[in-house]
């Protein structure tokens, strides 16, 4: 088991712990990006280049920025004073520890794990393309549909409900503006007159 794999794994896990435990949300989002790049590095070491590059493109390039934008849009960039943990956080930790022990025990003691093959698989983009276009054509179309639906849904949910108020009045017609009734010939030039009428209307 190569040393580099261990180092990358440790970096990823530390970054993930930091992402979860830091008080300031923007710091946690940035450490999350570090842990995503760590996971991408692990993929590269497992000879899954395409997955590693996609991971960087999708997670570090898009999702990290999305999370950071959401943090700014909900104005939670400042470090909160009060506690950041929910009330029942102790139970959560207990359940997590339980989950991890079960998983760890299952991994370490199971005999069903296949032995590591000598030759690492060399996957080329052409193979992925062929597989995607032949065996996995249906999932490809569905994932395209899902992505479109998600995009439209996200825009609809996050967009402002009421139509943006039209501050600009409709372009004033070039008719000769009569002075407003009652007050003397107002010295206000035509544009403001239109503005006044539109504003008043």
């Amino acid at each position: 088991m190569s040393l580099i794999l261990v180092i990358t794994a440790v970096v990823t896990l530390l970054a993930a712990v930091a992402a979860m435990s830091l008080r300031n949300l923007v710091h946690s989002a940035l450490t999350l990006a570090v842990s995503f790049s760590g996971v991408a590095a692990i993929y590269l070491q497992l000879n899954a280049e395409f997955a590693g590059f996609t991971e960087i493109l999708v997670y570090v390039g898009a999702i990290a920025i999305l999370i950071v934008m959401a943090i700014l849009l909900t104005r939670s960039g400042e470090t909160p004073e009060k506690s950041v943990l929910t009330s029942g956080w102790l139970a959560g930790i207990a359940v997590t520890a339980l989950v991890f022990t079960i998983l760890g025990w299952a991994v370490l003691s199971s005999s069903a794990l296949p032995a590591a093959p000598a030759v690492p698989p060399h996957v080329t983009v052409k193979d992925i393309g062929m597989q995607l276009m032949t065996q996995y054509v249906l999932p490809l179309e569905i994932i395209g549909l899902v992505l479109t639906v998600a995009m439209i849904g996200a825009v609809v949910i996050a967009c402002k409900e009421e139509a943006p108020a039209r501050i600009l009045p409709v372009v004033a017609k070039t008719t000769e503006p009569q002075p407003a009734p009652g007050n003397p010939a107002a010295p206000i030039p035509a544009a403001a007159g239109a503005f006044k009428k539109a504003g008043a209307a």
Binding site: V26, H27, L30, F50, F53, T54, L57, A64, I65, K126
Partner: protein, 391 residues
């Protein structure tokens, strides 16, 4: 003789690495390649800053720097030393760790992007099978560092600049990738060396560059405009518009960190220009067959300098785009044109050789260009200006 001259760097690398025991060879060769990139491209950055200031000067009927060194070509040294000497002020309210890390995080992806660019015949540092995807993946990570710079300076101008920069880079990344997709469809591989070798054939002496095909020309146009926006260059330099938001996301940076941002921006520009050359202008191939004795890396460098000069030329000409014009151009013109371009590339592939495909593709693209152009310029009639407050 020209063969050795062409492969001089490759043979030099193998000769140097030959001294080391086998175990250390791969590490040594990658370190040498890194050394090559870190020495050549910052050197090119230094040269281009001077060329840019002199070029802009000449465009504006003045000389440009001609005091430091012969004809002003040591001006970059003066600027470099100035930025080193300048006091590095960090705002008190700034988030010191993130503020310090931002330029570093900007440089990492930019320098990584050079790993896959083919500078010359088999002179690619890391010839990944999915090299193009690697380039775009790493290119996408630059926005994170821009956000870090903007947010950590705790300054409204820098945050606003960072938001504008991210919005601009995100919305121009899509046409950038889609225009590259059309090249990948024709070549059939994401490997940049394959893309260049596909363009390495000659008919009547003219190279098979993709820019000479209708879809390639449209793709290159889209790619060029998107790369201008991706590197925050002239018509799209809203994020660092001095007149509006001082210096955008690097307002609160001074001294060497500011120089690092500058370096990062230029290296990003060279990388994206290098990719444009590889995809559309035949990477290191020579335009005409009787000139192919010139070494391949010289071709790559001349094309790079040519495109950089066009960047400077555009910077001397075009005024800055407003934010909504910028977004309209990306979403209502470049993106649809890129999609049409992909369809046309498909047509080009299935129509087979012959004059028919040239005609069909050219007509479709011209129609799409004119239609989208008219749609974009449709509401630009300069009507009567409405003043909301002053009158």
């Amino acid at each position: 003789m020209f063969g050795q001259l062409d492969q001089i760097f490759v043979t030099l690398l193998h000769w140097l690495v030959g001294f080391l025991p086998v175990a250390w060879r791969s590490l040594a060769s990658s370190l040498l390649c890194i050394g090559f990139v870190i020495s050549v491209f910052p050197g090119l950055f230094a040269l281009v800053t001077v060329i840019e200031r002199k070029g802009l000067g000449r465009i504006q009927n003045r000389y440009g720097p001609n005091r430091v060194g012969p004809f002003g070509f040591l001006q970059f040294a003066a600027d470099g030393i100035k930025s080193l000497i300048k006091e590095d002020i960090v705002p008190r309210a700034a988030d010191h760790v993130v503020h310090f890390l931002a330029p570093v995080v900007l440089l990492i992806p930019v320098l990584l992007a050079y790993a896959v660019l083919p500078f010359g015949q088999n002179m690619t540092i890391a010839d990944y099978d999915a090299g193009l995807l690697f380039f775009f993946a790493v290119g996408g990570a630059v926005e994170l560092s821009i956000f870090m710079a903007g947010w950590s300076s705790r300054n409204k101008y820098s945050l606003l600049g960072a938001m504008r920069a991210i919005a601009q880079m995100l919305s121009y990344e899509i046409p950038l990738i889609l225009s590259a997709v059309s090249v990948v469809m024709i070549v059939g591989s994401l490997n940049l060396s394959d893309i260049v070798s596909h363009q390495n054939h000659y008919t009547f002496g003219i190279a098979h560059w993709y820019v000479f095909t209708p879809w390639g020309l449209a793709g290159f146009l889209i790619f060029f405009i998107a790369s201008l926006a991706e590197s925050n260059r002239c018509p799209f330099d809203l994020p660092e518009a001095e007149s509006e938001i001082i210096a955008g996301y690097f307002t609160e940076y001074s001294g060497f960190k500011f120089a690092l941002f500058f370096l990062g921006e230029y290296l990003g520009m060279f990388a994206i220009c290098g990719l444009g050359i590889t995809l559309f202008l035949g990477g290191w191939t020579s335009p005409v067959s009787w000139l192919s004795w010139i070494p391949s890396y010289v071709w790559f460098l001349t094309k790079l300098l040519a495109i950089v000069f066009v960047f400077i030329w555009i910077r001397g000409t075009l005024p800055r785009l407003r934010m909504d014009q910028l977004m309209n151009l990306a979403w209502k013109f470049l993106l649809p044109l890129a999609l049409v371009n992909i369809v046309v590339a498909g047509l080009w592939h299935f129509l087979g050789a012959g004059a028919l495909r040239w005609l069909v593709c050219a007509v479709i693209l011209a129609a799409a260009y004119v239609a989208l152009g008219r749609a974009l310029m449709q509401h630009q009639k300069l009507g009567k200006r409405i003043y909301r407050f002053a009158y």
